[in-house]
């Protein structure tokens, strides 16, 4: 894993993306180490005991020139709510870089990245970092309805974006797994990646497994420490109980014990 650190980052932007999603940009006190899609930061939300434990968030974007990194926060409970109330100028204590990143695609690979809910950030980061021509990258993003989607057309230059909504108010109607690319064309991809609600990831994993396609997912198990000491975040794998925070959050679906 290499050296990890705890540092105070300064919030430079906090932008509301839609009703429940916020983009928060953070400036490191020094120069940033290299971070990769799938890795995460663990944030002390109030520098207090009110929200006692840190909260983990995937890294969404990184700018090595400005030494900033961004996260996308979906409001779920107390901690994420407080976090989205933060004002630029405030400091946040951050532990990072944490976790293992997604496997990078090989040159000429065709990849499919499937994101939903709070799993959007690493998928977009991955599309951007893949180094592949946009033609080789498909990104499916699912949400309940149009209002739950955030504006990501800027990512069109890294891949083709396909939206789905459960109520059909935008893009393909249904779950991400109802999208034609996942229903019929999985075999066309060399690698499939997914991050989002567990049910969604399992559905994608099931299809990938059936199609025999390489598939990695990024888990969001509950964490107390985030750096491998508490053994709270474990996921059963072929190697026994693995720590999602250090041996994941990215796992190859073949290593997981999912019933898919």
């Amino acid at each position: 894993m290499g050296k990890k650190s705890v540092s105070d980052f300064e919030v430079t932007d906090n932008i509301r993306l839609n009703a429940t999603n916020f983009l928060i940009k953070l400036k490191a006190p020094g120069s940033l180490p290299v971070v990769k899609p799938g890795q995460f930061v663990n944030i002390d939300i109030k520098n207090s005991t009110e929200i006692f434990l840190r909260r983990p968030f995937s890294i969404f974007e990184v700018d090595y020139n400005r030494n900033t990194l961004s996260i996308i926060v979906k409001v779920l409970g107390r901690g994420s709510k407080k976090l989205t109330e933060i004002v630029p100028g405030e400091k946040l204590s951050i532990v990072f870089p944490l976790g293992r990143h997604f496997s990078y695609p090989d040159k000429n690979d065709r990849i499919l990245a499937v994101g939903g809910g709070s799993g959007l950030a690493p998928m977009l980061f991955l599309a951007k970092e893949s180094g592949l021509p946009a033609d080789n990258v498909d990104i499916i993003v699912g949400a309940r309805s149009a209002a739950d989607h955030v504006e990501i057309s800027a990512y069109n230059k890294y891949g083709k974006i396909h939206l789905t909504t459960e109520d059909g108010s935008l893009g393909t109607k249904g779950f991400v797994t109802d999208h034609p690319l996942l229903r019929n064309e999985l075999k066309n991809y060399d690698k499939v990646y997914a991050c989002g609600p567990e049910g969604m990831m399992k559905a994608v994993a099931g299809k990938a497994k059936k199609a025999g396609v390489f598939c990695e997912v990024s888990l969001e198990n509950l964490m107390a420490c985030g750096f491998g000491v508490c053994l709270c975040c474990i996921e059963p794998t072929v190697k026994g109980n693995s720590c999602v925070c250090t041996e994941g959050p990215v796992f190859n679906i073949n290593d997981l014990k999912w019933q898919i």
Binding site: K3, F52, V95, C225, F227, C232, I234, E235, P236, G240
Partner: protein, 286 residues
């Protein structure tokens, strides 16, 4: 010093800073053989604290000796093995193996884990149970034997005296309090095991009281544990009678906290013109 189960096997903390700066590291609870621990979910946040239901997941003492010990033995800080078992024989089995390790000078006998069905707290909540396991482990161990006590008892002093009587060189307390959390919306327990161990600042007042009672009841050194987050907390435990303290859950909040505590205590000694921490131990002004 770092509390068992909250600092892994020292390597994870060494990823942040050089652990030779620390007084000592109590390694993750170890059993004779591999244990998978309990099912997920294993933790729940609570007011000023958390519940855990890890259940002593570890790869067993042999794995430790072959794979981990060689990597960490020269870290330059005291390493203490936290010894666990389902039966007295199992405790003794682990102890005998640790007895052979040159760079381990002490063990902490964990008779207070609330997260395992067999062993653990079952031994720690009655005097006969605590005595029996301490007696056998004492026979098997030549170096420093610390017994870690459970707070889930009516009279912790009684248990402390019992293990002192069987040759313990010190006691550490407290382990976690048996607690529980429920999600009112789903109506399900938040832990796979229903109950788990409560730690963090929430328990500090009770832990402090127990350390105070035990330090008056026994002559052997007492190590204070429970919700210590900063230097003031550490000093309070010393005033209550602890010769040393362990930091647990605070590490999850910030792995650097132990270093800050060391600095803060030094600063306190200077401000109050005190030569050494030993002058604080038990010096509560009544």
């Amino acid at each position: 010093m770092l509390a068992s189960g909250t600092c892994g096997f020292a390597e994870e903390i060494n990823d942040f800073y050089d652990v030779s700066q620390l007084g000592g590291i109590f390694l993750k609870g170890t059993t004779p053989r591999n244990r998978d621990g309990n099912l997920y979910p294993r933790m729940a946040e609570t007011p000023s604290g958390m519940l855990n239901a890890v259940g002593l997941q570890n790869k067993g003492i042999d794995y430790f000796i072959e794979n981990i010990y060689p990597r960490i033995k020269d870290y330059g800080t005291s390493l203490i093995v936290n010894v666990n078992g389902s039966t007295i024989e199992e405790y003794v089995e682990v102890t005998e193996k640790v007895n052979e390790l040159d760079n381990i000078h002490a063990i902490e006998l964990n008779i207070s884990c609330p997260n395992v069905k067999e062993g653990g707290m079952a031994f720690g909540v009655t005097c006969p149970g605590a005595e029996a396991v301490t007696r056998e482990v004492r026979k098997a161990y030549d170096k420093t034997l610390i017994v870690k006590l459970s707070p889930n008892v009516t009279d912790v002093s009684e248990i402390a005296r019992a293990v002192e009587g069987q040759g313990a060189d010190g006691v550490s307390l407290v382990n976690t309090f048996l607690g529980m959390a429920i999600d009112s919306e789903t109506r399900k327990p938040l832990l796979s095991t229903v109950t788990g161990g409560l730690s963090g600042p929430a328990i500090k007042p009770i832990a402090l009281r127990m350390v105070w009672q035990v330090s008056k009841a026994v002559k052997i050194p007492v190590i204070g544990i429970g919700g210590i987050m900063n230097a003031a907390d550490a000093i309070e435990f010393m005033l209550a009678g602890a010769s040393a303290v362990q930091v647990g859950t605070a590490l999850f909040k910030n792995p650097h906290i132990p270093l800050r505590i060391i600095e803060g205590v030094d600063d306190y000694l200077q401000r109050h013109n005190i030569q050494s921490v030993s002058e604080l131990v038990g010096r509560l002004q009544m």
